[in-house]
Symmetry: C2
Subunit: 459 residues, 2 copies
């Protein structure tokens, strides 16, 4: 850092000088520019953007990694904001407009150029997280009576205004329906005078209301650069490109981990989210789980007389219950992903039960054995006295573990199926949810086993 730089920086009250920041950004990659702006307040970022060349500002706003892009657009002078929105890819501009309220929203829409206004309006009509909302309308499409040479000439002409030119879509000149797709690599190797359709393949397409996860799966499955979105008549509405899909997959996997952790998904970075928003996202599930887990207190109350007679049984409650929750959590995580990757279908549930049953029994037996060893060692070496019926206590613990781990594995595996069957996302199943489910049953299994084995002795 030069002296001049420091001097300038401290010239403002809070050390913020938009001109210095704007100048320092000029040679950075756009992803790095976004990182710098993300550290500023929206108003500050807007001040920096006004000082950048228009093209650079548009490129930054086009990155989904820019937080608060809507707030930044709102903080800009309306005319400049509309100009930048018109230059952006229509899908990103629509995302921003969506987050704004009137009057900003309608004022900005009025300022757009005609082409952008039409494109953005049509995208705004699709629900969030669908192919329609993700797609861009800036694709290359040519009529099927063109030649390779005509198409290449067209591409050179429109290249700057298209999000991708690596897939070229061919439409019927009369019906305007999508009839084929040509990759740029095939195009440049083609005979210049050949008809474009001779190089085309039948494209894999999707519908505008398809869920973004399914679009991502399609692109990943067929290694596509882009997938065209068509209406029911076969007219091309837009395309979803691979980079949007990568963002989608990363976002979905963050949501899945958070949901599996037992909370509502958060779409802002950890350090950016507001305190009460955080409490809301976590508190809701936490309270719900707490209320369900209260059934354990009811179950314990039910067995109170047994507890009083055999206090030794209480010593193993946390150990046994947590094992059920752990095995359930394993099974749930396995099946959430298996369903998401389509390795397993809804109708395969009985195959899964047939796998989880023996798995649970064997895993439970392993833990049971360790539990017995623990009790024997503690008893024999005098670390603790489990009473005169300690052998029966050990047997109770081992038997209960087999039952509880088996129940946990099967219940944990079935939970994602049940959720999918009921129309929910299987990934809504969470480790705490499974643990709660298993805890209550686990207690009942434990005390039932104890009553069977210890009746007439301890109980």
């Amino acid at each position: 850092m030069t002296d001049t730089h420091t001097a300038r920086n401290s010239a403002t009250n809070d050390g913020f000088n938009p001109a210095v920041i704007a100048a320092s950004l000029s040679d950075e990659y756009v992803a790095d520019k976004v990182d710098v702006l993300n550290k500023l307040e929206p108003e500050e970022a807007a001040a920096v953007l006004t000082l950048l060349p228009r093209e650079a500002a548009i490129e930054i706003l086009d990155k989904p990694e820019l937080y608060f892009s809507a707030e930044i657009i709102e903080a800009l002078p309306r005319a400049l904001a509309s100009h930048l929105l018109s230059g952006m890819s229509a899908d990103m501009a629509a995302d921003i407009i969506q987050q704004l309220e009137d009057p900003a929203r309608s004022e900005l829409m009025q300022g757009l150029d005609d082409v952008s206004r039409v494109a953005i309006s049509s995208l705004l009509a699709y629900p969030e997280n669908t192919a329609g909302a993700m797609m861009t309308t800036e694709f290359v499409s040519v009529p099927s009576n063109w030649t390779v040479d005509q198409t290449l000439e067209h591409i050179r002409h429109v290249e700057r205004t298209r999000e991708t030119i690596y897939a070229i879509y061919v439409r019927d000149p009369v019906t305007r329906r999508l009839v084929g797709a040509v990759s740029l690599r095939r195009l440049i190797s083609g005979e210049p005078s050949a008809n474009i359709l001779t190089l085309a393949v039948d494209p894999i397409t999707t519908l505008p209301l398809t869920d973004r996860e399914d679009v991502a799966r399609l692109i990943a499955r067929h290694d596509l650069l882009a997938v065209p979105v068509v209406d029911k008549m076969g007219h091309l509405l837009g395309i979803v490109t691979f980079d949007d899909v990568i963002d989608t997959i990363v976002e979905e996997s963050t949501e899945d981990v958070q949901k599996f952790g037992g909370m509502e998904a958060i779409d802002e970075p950890y350090l950016q989210i507001g305190f009460f928003e955080m409490i809301r996202k976590r508190g809701g599930w936490l309270c719900l789980l707490f209320l369900s887990e209260m059934l354990t207190a009811s179950a314990m109350q039910h067995f109170e007389s047994e507890l009083e007679k055999a206090i030794v049984l209480t010593l193993f409650i946390p150990l046994i219950m947590s094992s059920g929750g752990n095995s359930g959590s394993q099974a749930t995580s396995l099946l959430i992903r298996a369903l998401a990757l389509r390795d397993v279908k809804l109708g395969d549930w009985w195959r899964v039960v047939l796998r989880e049953l023996p798995t649970g029994i064997l895993l439970g037996a392993m833990l049971g054995l360790i539990g017995v060893i623990r009790i024997v060692v503690w008893q024999k070496f005098g670390f603790f006295d489990y009473g005169e019926h300690w052998i029966l206590v050990a047997l109770t613990v081992a038997t209960a573990l087999v039952g509880i781990v088996t129940f946990g594995s099967v219940a944990g595996a079935m939970l994602p199926f049940a959720l999918q069957k009921l129309g929910f996302d299987p990934a809504s199943a969470s480790a705490p949810f499974v643990a709660t489910l298993v805890d209550v049953t686990g207690l009942v299994i434990y005390f039932s086993v104890a009553l069977m084995i210890l009746r007439g002795t301890l109980l």
Copy 2:
């Protein structure tokens, strides 16, 4: 299905007829062909592959979604297998060779054509899950003294043998170092006689030993089609393409969910993995967690005399402990992703503590309030009698909940930091791991609070 088809199908013992299957595949997308072969035994899939056109067989083997590709290659006649491996993209072929043992491995290597043998050998030298092991050596590279037209002519010539031609790499003709990258879209819009370097940009590169997650992050961050892998001298070794990165991200997110569920990651589909492999992947962690959770039994033994005096305290043990585990699981899931997405850095740990402390206290207070209401309602309406000191019991439960939820939130949030600091993947932190960690401390907090509040009355 026609009658002939059915008749043919039942002509073999087990209904498997490779000719019928091979014929039925001809019009399918390659991803669908892979699905069909995945349902067969490796030997059967090999029998089908021998009947397909060579190009189609290579395309299938090139898909990472094909399970057992190594077993299939091993089941093929050696000469055919070597021929197919030579035709595959070098990174995929190297993946297969890597999984084979001698003599198959060396026999197949000998059968490769010279170019493929050199390419595959060099890829085999890189450790798994690095850029070097993921990259393909089939890229387009031209010397920096060429013109746009020369480059286009070269691309048309080599197009069929290159994994992607959308990024063209420019090397110094003497030192052979990478000096620039040109996208195909800029190339086709360029002046034919212009020097290729006039269109080139300074490429974003990576090193061969870079972890595949970091490569994926780089591609996602800069929306790249491919990232070049260079050695320390700046020579281009290969490129990693976006479709490999999508596969990586999907695979990593499956691993992350499974690890978060408390097991070792499984790289085969749920219904394919062997029974004992499954037991090994789940049993290891389950036993380890069980052994750690035994500390809860020790803690309970320590408080045995208190338990005997106040059996009412045991009723709330599962409820209170699970709340600690749940809040910990939430915090861990949040921080695992925040660290993975680089929203939070290792040095930010104290910022996180400062967020989790008030969050935990407030969430704990919410649960404490619900707990108190439960005890008051049950006591007042005669559902259960918590004894004469029920108000103090309610106070104990509420206070313990605040302490335990706060501890759970902070400990759960710090666990991924601790793992990263120790050189482990923060995503190794799992919900059961956190729950176990919190359970033992939770019991100690609960009984300590009870001793403070109930000494002289119940205890």
